[in-house]
Amino acid sequence: MSIDSYRFLDFATRQVMKAWASRERAGAIPFAPLKKPLDRCTVALLSTAGIARNDDRPFDQERERRDPWWGDPSFRVIPLGTTEADARIYHLHIDPRFGQADLDVVLPMRRLTELAQEGFVRQAAPNHYSIMGYILEPDVLVNETAPAIAERMRADGVDAAALVPA
């Protein structure tokens, strides 16, 4: 594998990431084929940067600081049109300043709208989503958060989703 973004990380973080990768075991991977060409698809984005609107509940950083093995498994809805002025990034494992300066660095809703204007996709969905990406025990994420996001995406008529890590 020629992609090596570990080189952007300090030594300790690298060790933690490698340990995490080695403990994961992939189960059966689901696969839903794209039903129509991209230029007819409504597309939603999901960021793992831990983005919450200023008028919404923040991700729980305090509990993670008390218990570093825990990560907030909830999600937030980020309506299309939300900008860096309206939201904050709560992920404690990344430098939030880049996404805070320009939300499209982590949740490219404006770029998606531009791709829709070009005709590359049909349209950006009305709602996009964020979770916080550091979750060692994914039970709640898998059994509650992801199905709830999927449900909302279906209600919005989303045809395809792009997951963007942070």
Binding site: M17, I94, Y134
Partner: protein, 123 residues
């Protein structure tokens, strides 16, 4: 889970070995620093190119565990990227295993220490 509900997904990843270990239907690896998956702030053209390449994996993939490496190179050196975030405090788990390296094997084994022990542990 989103995929299982019938909505096709594609995942971008700066750490494709981690994302692939979790298991995703379509994966696009990119050599960008954490925190900047689409590129630098206000680089609209670069961000759009990454998003376009990412979405383009959707129609091309015909089976699960499809992996594509995106051809984007980070404009600066890794050292510069690391230095730009030098003053950011380490994540709590990174600080913890730096302080208590003997806990690192817990991460590898998946045995998460008892919460009470951790909460009561005095440094």
């Amino acid at each position: 889970m989103i995929e299982a509900s019938g909505i096709p997904t594609v995942s971008l990843s700066m750490i494709p070995d981690l994302t692939r270990a979790v298991g995703v239907p379509r994966l696009a690896g990119i050599s960008y620093p954490l925190g900047r998956p689409l590129g630098n702030p206000r680089d609209a053209e670069g961000q759009r190119a990454v998003l376009r390449a990412l979405l383009d994996v959707l129609p091309r993939a015909t089976e699960p565990d499809t992996y594509v490496e995106l051809p984007f190179a980070w404009p600066d050196s890794p050292v510069k990227a690391r230095n730009e975030s030098k003053d950011v405090p380490p994540a709590p788990i990174v600080a913890l295993v730096t302080r208590k390296p003997w806990l690192l094997p817990n991460l590898y084994s998946g045995r998460i220490p008892q919460r009470e022990e951790e909460l009561c542990a005095k440094d």
